[in-house]
């Protein structure tokens, strides 16, 4: 519903139906609502920018839809601005987070960059996200012709007649494209008719561009979104924007704010705006500091403490998960070499990167926990990050036990895949707001709040996913080994045992996690088991792995079957993890729902099917050539060389002879 509203806004904006012009830039805030100085009436309809503003502060031609940005070369210090708090999306956060989210949405995200940066293609200068945001807000006339809105989808650019080699286009230019509005209209109608499934890529991309324009417009004109002023006496009270504060002193209105305090604030705010327009570094820093102190003093007991704000800013700026995946990538590559060359130094360097990645991963995760005030496993983004951590963690434990490099390699590869996907999907797809994949920290729904058992249940279940994921990567390594190193029986055997180890952890955790889910459900809101799709798929996954384990145990398909099962079984996990929410989209766990990514998941699935088939054929051929009729032959041949005991075989040796009292006793 919210997205529809946004769409409508975007459409109204692009259609250019309203009458009022952009607010005057020179507008000052005052607490005298009767005076007609307020340039931003609260009930103003979003409107296109009046073309006459083009004569504002640039020397560009009035009809040119794109123009260079004003000079941003004087560097301003935004570190204090970052620490001003804002209430947005049900949470109080630093302005830095808000600006980063909005600007990344408009200009797109860049790898490893904690702060969005726009390179102006006309003036060739780099504009920092804070500058971009403040200039949109404080001097929009100069900004609406600056190419800054990302249009990443080639076919859409072609359709709209835009230069396909360029990435950013000005607000003014996009606003004057009736075709864009037309496509957006079509998409909107489909959504109204509940035909979301029939939206074309073109329509979806057009919606994203319109969303970007709406967000840009809301900063240019809709200052109501900037809820910077805290509620004076309630911790969970609603914050207001500067113009809302101004309007709260009208006739018939009882402002909860102190009029004198508000007047001081307006003064500070005007000083801040002037300092920014003048681009005087010293004045700006001073004005920002004063504004911040004034805001904080409105509600000294409930204003978010500086250390909390700084924690979140440091989380945003350092991008620990991006650096972690880079470490994992290096560790994985070194790991491949380490398999080939038994070099201790190489191994140590690899493990160094492994630990480094894990440290960054844990650091990021811990910060996220502290910021959100809860364990971050509430959406796909957070659960993938956690599963990545689990896989790396289990890989490390097993590596420390066995020291065979395979676990380190698989752990690093799992961590890399998880983190790189979550970090780059917004960049690759050009959209930072994919449902379910959003990295922004959002408040939880009531049903997910403050519950110990729920947290334990979710963490346990997702940890089992991590173990199975490790098994899945090991399965690939094994199949790869079967395909390209068919004679390395000892290696195969070792790998099979490792897979078994990983699956053991997974099966135990999945069983415990599923049962904990039942316990949570029973104590919190309902039945122990309700045949809900998420429960069902957890059960299906568990039974699938049990089938492979039991079959292996009975000697039906040997160790190779287990490797096969570790890859095949993981797809039941994918179904439980991703499919239930993103494909089936029904049931009680639907609050985790999202959309998208289906094509990519399917592509990996098809690859796995082919890979499994090729691996199986290679295995069969090698078995034939070695003349072994029994698929267990590879296990027994190299027993003498083994350094790893075979837990399955040991167990079987002890238990096979126990079928019944009659079996020889």
């Amino acid at each position: 519903m919210k997205s529809l509203g946004v769409m409508m806004l975007a459409l109204a904006l692009v259609a250019g139906t309203a009458t009022t012009g952009a607010r005057a830039e020179e507008g000052k805030y005052s607490s005298q609502p009767q005076q007609p100085v307020d340039p931003r009436p609260v009930k103003q309809t979003p409107t296109p920018v009046d073309p006459s503003v083009a004569t504002g502060d640039g020397a560009e031609k009035p009809e040119a839809p794109e123009a260079a940005a004003p000079d941003f070369s004087t560097a301003l210090d935004f570190s204090i601005l970052d620490t001003i708090a804002i209430q947005d999306n049900g949470r109080n956060k630093p302005l830095q987070t808000f600006i980063t989210e909005k600007m990344e949405l408009i200009v797109g995200r860049k790898l490893f960059k904690g702060v969005p940066v726009l390179t102006d293609k006309i003036s060739k200068q780099n504009i920092n996200g804070n500058d971009l945001f403040l200039s949109l807000w404080m001097k929009p006339k100069s900004m609406i012709r600056v190419p800054m809105i990302l249009v990443s989808y080639g076919p859409l650019k072609q359709e709209l007649g835009l230069t396909t080699t360029e990435k950013h286009f000005s607000f003014e230019r996009l606003r004057n494209l009736p075709k864009l509005q037309e496509i957006g209209n079509g998409a909107h109608k489909k959504r109204l008719a509940k035909q979301d499934g029939e939206l074309t890529s073109l329509e979806k991309e057009a919606e994203i561009v319109l969303k970007r324009m709406t967000v840009a417009w809301s900063i240019i004109n809709g200052e109501e979104n900037l809820k910077l002023i805290p509620h004076p006496n309630q911790q969970h009270g609603d914050w207001v924007s500067v113009s809302e504060l101004q309007n709260s002193f009208g006739e018939l209105k009882q402002s909860v704010y102190n009029q004198g305090k508000a007047n001081q604030l307006f003064e500070k705010f005007n000083a801040f705006a002037i300092a920014y327009r003048e681009r005087d570094p010293a004045k700006f820093s001073g004005a920002t500091q004063e504004l911040r102190s004034e805001l904080a003093s409105i509600s000294p007991s409930f204003y978010p403490p500086l250390n909390e704000l700084n924690r979140e800013i440091s989380y945003n700026k350092t991008r620990p998960f991006a650096w972690a995946w880079a470490c994992y990538l290096i560790a994985s590559v070194l790991g491949l070499f380490a398999l080939k060359y038994a070099n201790t130094t190489l191994y140590r360097v690899m493990m160094g990167f492994y630990f480094g990645g894990l440290a960054l991963h844990v650091y990021g995760f811990a910060l996220r926990c502290l910021i959100a005030g809860r364990p971050p496993v509430s959406n796909m983004y957070e659960s993938v990050i956690w599963v990545g951590f689990g896989a790396v963690f289990f890989g490390l434990i097993f590596e420390l036990i066995y020291r065979k490099r395979f676990f380190a390699l698989s752990g690093a590869a799992s961590g890399f895949v998880c983190l790189v996907l979550m970090d780059t999907i917004p960049i690759l797809l050009g959209n930072t707001e994919l449902p379910g994949f959003g990295s922004d920290i959002a408040p939880l729904q009531p049903v997910l709040r403050d519950n110990f058992w729920l947290t334990v249940h979710v963490l346990t279940i997702t940890l089992s996913y991590a173990a199975f994921k490790l098994g899945w990567v090991l399965g690939h390594v094994t199949l790869f080994s079967h395909l390209f190193r068919p004679n390395q029986k000892a290696e195969h055997h070792e790998l099979h045992q490792f897979i078994y180890r990983a699956l053991q952890v997974g099966v135990l955790l999945l069983a415990i996690g599923t049962i904990l889910g039942g316990v949570w459900a029973y104590y919190s809101w309902g039945r122990f088991w309700g045949w809900d799709p998420k429960e069902n798929w957890a059960l299906i996954a568990l039974v699938t792995y049990l089938i492979f384990l039991h079959g292996r145990f009975a000697g039906w398909w040997g160790n190779f079957g287990l490797s096969f099962g570790s890859v095949f079984g993981f797809w039941t996990i994918v179904m439980a993890w991703y499919g239930v929410n993103f494909v089936l989209g029904s049931g009680m766990h639907a609050y985790g729902s999202g959309a998208g990514g289906g094509i990519y998941v399917a592509a990996v699935g098809i690859f796995d099917v082919l890979f499994l088939a090729a691996g199986t054929i290679a295995y069969m051929m090698s078995k034939k050539s070695s003349g072994g009729g029994n698929d267990k032959s590879d296990d027994s041949e190299d027993d003498s060389k083994l350094t790893v005991s075979d837990p399955i075989k040991d167990a079987r040796a002890n238990e096979l002879d126990q079928p019944a009292p009659s079996a020889g006793e």
Partner: protein
């Protein structure tokens, strides 16, 4: 022979077949659920007798697998525990299936305590007028998928009468309102609908419209007259109200709003009479004024935090009493009508609130299958007439508004409505530019249609279709029909059972997410419930007066009395307080008062207390009766927060009720499974006898051959 059967039943092959087929059934179930509903999947798969049989076979298999290995060796501990755990868990599931109970209680604040719990099933009741008990047919509307399931027979009290369920969708009409002032407005109406939308209220019922009333002499005379009418806008934080005289001479009444204990009280001085009114008691109804015959008051609403909305109508910013205000009208005796139009606004007068229920359209589906209407217009009065597809009738509202029946579906409803919905999909997709002014497109509207069942009744050579709407067992909604000389009544109440205790909603609290009022995002939903033991209504109470809510008696002279405040004490007893005890600790109690005031009082200040209330919110259910063993055995009823109607109805809460006597087996079994798997995977080496490696190898090779023969024995 016995051993052979036992070995077959305990074989791994059988286990595999059971597991693979079960997995396939569950996969199929999740697909069915995403295509239809969870209830359909449950009916055809999970609650199916074959599925039960399958689980039973699995239990047998698990038992036999363990049985054939008896006596067990130490290293088989994990294997035995795991398998036993699964069997115990399945036993628990079986007990729950047959002896467990699950239902739902809709609770409204202020209603008397209830012991009626609604189940998720319904009964179709058919009775002959004035003759005996109704014939009962059990059904579950959500389990029916539509046409494919329909046609089932319904029991009737007389073999001469036949009844079948023929459809799940009601008769429907697509109404289009057009007018210069309002543009085009589309609305689908279903039989049973009662919608209040913009210009008028719209209803669709069965039967014939009543004849329009002839106006009496008095009414004709009264038509030239109108009652004296004044509208007031009163604030708690401003002395002077804003008022406007709409009809007759101004009365000069003085009004003041006062907030006392968070309750809005209106003080009115009219013709030298001082009147005090509790606004919450009189809102939205015409209330006669004491000592002033001919005068009534109508309070349109109470706004704890008033702001003037964008449409010029008063709205509430939130429920914090920061700027309390009310709007009310005083109506007096008839006076000669003045020319002033009722809706004209004075520059600073209070806004027009509109008169509720003045314009109304009721559609009637007659026993002859024809559609008729009864139209009420503030301007034109009442009129009736016959309708059909394409017929347009001037409405007499909003200037020149007229309504047209664009579509009328009198039969084969599911088929026709789904076809129409598909057409609408297609049309909207193909004509994206077309502007729709519609409350809701048909596909969405179908989801909110009135629930019920179309029943075809045959008797004495006559056939009639009756739409029977879903209702509650407390107030079954009966449809009457005459077929072949029989007078029948049909109803479709939810099945309900009586609980051994009564339950009432004392408080409902739903704070919204900071800054998210507009998007209706709530932080929590919290109900305070009170219970009353039917067998022993005073059980657990040490004090006399209380029936609902909790009571606390504070020591005389204690400082806690000041802390709680005199205004919270019971009238006439300054040491007795009525509140909800939200927390009971050995050292202190937390008390919540109805005005949201809350306090923590040390036990040393408390003489005695009674606790009847239980607070529940998401993830925090309560049990009743509260016994120490209840949580472990599952013998108590469990109440969880399940439903709300925020922001429309802040006095409603839906509570889910569950009792699962199989719970003990479930958690014991679960514990067994987890512990067993852990033992198998990680503790086995400690249970294993130490055998020399060489022997082990030999033993294994020997067994390998055996394993080929009876590999089924080896699974553990």
């Amino acid at each position: 022979m016995f051993k052979k059967i036992l070995r077959f039943l305990g074989s791994l092959q059988l286990a595999m077949i059971l597991l693979i087929v079960m997995t396939a059934m569950v996969v199929w179930g999740t697909i069915v659920e995403s295509k239809f509903t969870a209830e359909v999947a449950k009916k055809y798969i999970y609650a199916n007798v074959f599925f039960d049989l399958w689980l039973f076979m699995l239990a047998v298999n698990l038992f036999c697998v363990a049985a054939v290995r008896y006596p067990w060796k130490p290293h088989q501990t994990g294997f035995v525990i795991t398998h036993a755990g699964i069997i115990v868990l399945l036993v628990g599931a079986f007990i729950d299936r047959h002896y467990g109970i699950e239902g739902f209680i809709p609770l409204y604040r202020g209603d008397a305590p209830t012991d009626v719990m609604e189940l998720h099933e319904q009964d179709v009741l058919v009775s002959k007028a004035g003759e005996g008990a109704p014939a009962r047919t059990r059904t579950h509307l959500k389990e029916l998928t539509g046409n494919g399931d329909m046609g089932f027979k319904i029991n009737t009290p007389d073999p001469a009468i036949e009844a079948t369920a023929v459809d799940l969708y009601p008769p429907a009409v697509k109404l289009v309102l057009t007018g210069a002032k309002m543009g085009r407005f589309e609305q689908w109406l279903f039989q049973g609908d009662n919608l209040n939308m913009g210009p008028a209220t719209m209803k669709f019922v069965s039967g014939m419209p009543p004849a329009p009333k002839e106006k009496s002499k008095e009414e004709l005379e009264a038509a030239d007259k109108a009652p004296r009418l004044e509208r007031y806008f009163t604030f708690a934080n401003h002395e002077t109200p804003i008022s406007k005289t709409l009809q007759g001479q101004p009365t000069g009444a003085k009004a003041k709003l006062e907030i006392k204990n968070e309750k809005p009280l209106l003080h009115l001085d009219l013709f030298d009479k001082h009147i005090h009114l509790d606004v919450t008691q009189i809102a939205n109804k015409k209330v006669p004024l004491e000592d002033l015959p001919d005068w009534t008051i109508y309070v349109f609403g109470y706004y704890p935090n008033f702001v003037m909305g964008e449409d010029g109508k008063p709205t509430n910013r939130n429920n914090n009493p920061d700027n309390p205000a009310i709007v009310f009208e005083l109506q007096g005796p008839l006076v000669a009508k003045t020319d002033r139009p009722a809706d004209s606004e004075e520059p600073h007068g209070p806004p027009s609130m509109g008169e509720p229920g003045a314009n109304a359209l009721t559609l009637y589906l007659g026993p002859d299958g024809k559609l008729r209407y009864l139209l009420k217009s503030r301007v034109k009065g009442e009129s009736v007439g016959e309708l059909g597809e394409g017929i347009t009738v001037p409405a007499g509202w909003a200037g020149d508004a007229a309504f047209t029946i664009e579509r009328f579906i009198p039969t084969e409803f599911t088929k026709a409505l789904l076809a129409d919905a598909a057409k609408e999909y297609e049309f909207r997709a193909k004509n994206p530019g077309q502007l729709y002014v519609s409350e809701m497109p048909l596909p969405n509207r179908l989801e909110t249609r009135p629930m019920g069942m179309m029943v075809r009744v045959k008797a004495g050579g006559e056939t009639k279709d009756v739409w029977v709407q879903l209702s509650t067992s407390q107030a079954p909604r009966k449809e009457f029909v005459q077929v072949g000389g029989h007078a029948l009544s049909l109803s479709l109440p939810r099945r309900a059972v009586r609980l051994p205790f009564k339950i009432a909603l004392e408080k409902f609290y739903a704070p919204h997410q900071p800054g998210m009022k507009e998007s209706n995002m709530f932080m929590a939903f919290e109900s305070t419930l009170s219970f009353q033991d039917k067998a022993n209504p005073n059980k657990g109470q040490t004090m006399d007066p209380p029936k609902q809510l909790d009571f606390v008696r504070i020591k005389e002279g204690s400082i806690a009395l000041e802390q709680l405040g005199k205004e919270h004490a019971m009238p006439g007893d300054p040491t007795l307080f009525r509140c909800a005890i939200s927390q009971v600790e050995p050292e202190f109690l937390q008390l919540d008062f109805e005005d949201k005031h809350s306090a923590i009082i040390a036990r040393s200040h408390i003489v005695e207390f009674t606790k009847n209330t239980h607070k529940i919110h998401m993830n925090h259910p309560t049990t009743y009766p509260q016994t120490p063993w209840g949580p472990f055995l599952g013998t108590s009823y469990k109440f969880s927060q399940a439903d709300h109607q925020m922001p429309q109805n802040p006095d409603y809460s839906g509570v889910q009720v569950l009792r699962d006597p199989g719970w003990f087996f479930k958690w014991v079994g679960s514990l067994g499974i987890c512990f067993g798997i852990f033992t198998m995977f990680y503790l086995k080496p400690y249970f294993r006898p130490k055998v020399k490696k060489v022997e082990d190898e030999e033993g294994k090779k020997g067994k390998k051959k055996k394993a080929k023969g009876n590999a089924e024995m080896s699974h553990a």
